[in-house]
């Protein structure tokens, strides 16, 4: 699954640590999700969408 988290995070000027804190997950988690190495659960995907004020499908796309 592809995602735009790295781009969206850069637009906000956030570090991975900032986003991790907002999501209450580890920085490793954010890094793995950004790199497409780990697909988040649906609850976490909703949380990510909420943090960026977008819908899930605007952040995550099928490969």
């Amino acid at each position: 699954m592809k995602n735009r988290i790295r781009v969206l995070r850069a637009e906000k000027g956030w570090t991975q640590a900032d986003l991790a804190k907002a999501l209450d997950v580890s920085r490793n988690s954010v890094n793995a999700i950004e790199n497409g190495k780990y697909d988040p659960s649906l609850p976490l995907a909703f949380k990510i969408a909420d943090v960026f004020g977008l819908r899930i499908e605007e952040i995550f796309q099928k490969d």
Binding site: D24, V25, S26, N28, S29, N31, A32, I33, N35, K37, Y38, P40, S41, L44
Partner: protein
Amino acid sequence: MSRFSARSWRILAALGFWALIALAIIVRGTAGLFIAYAAGAWLAAFSLLAWKRQDEFERAAQKFSWVFGGLFGLLASLALLPVVTQPGIISPLLGWLTASLTAPDGSPPDPAAPAILLGAVYIALGQLVGFLVCWVGWHVTKR
């Protein structure tokens, strides 16, 4: 207390467990056995607290590692039995365990007790090693 990170709980779990196991070995006898049970309870309780503080990425890593690492660790332990049961390896361990399980009044344990304990610890260690290998591999490949 609830602000402790998962890592803090894990460290507390490990330190307390090994401290109590060391105490059990020193005390020996029935009291030592109950201290060993307490060590198991300590490990379970603090591991649960660590689990609750972990995020889903780390939980996924641990589930994967226990399933596959634990399985391969178990199989590797069994495959290595012909090697580790060589007298040069097993006899000193059994001798040490027999001495450790000897009651303070000098009465020796049932001859089967050290062998059963050694077998259980051997399998558990095999699974633990398998878990650690998979856990490290998971984190390396998910970078």
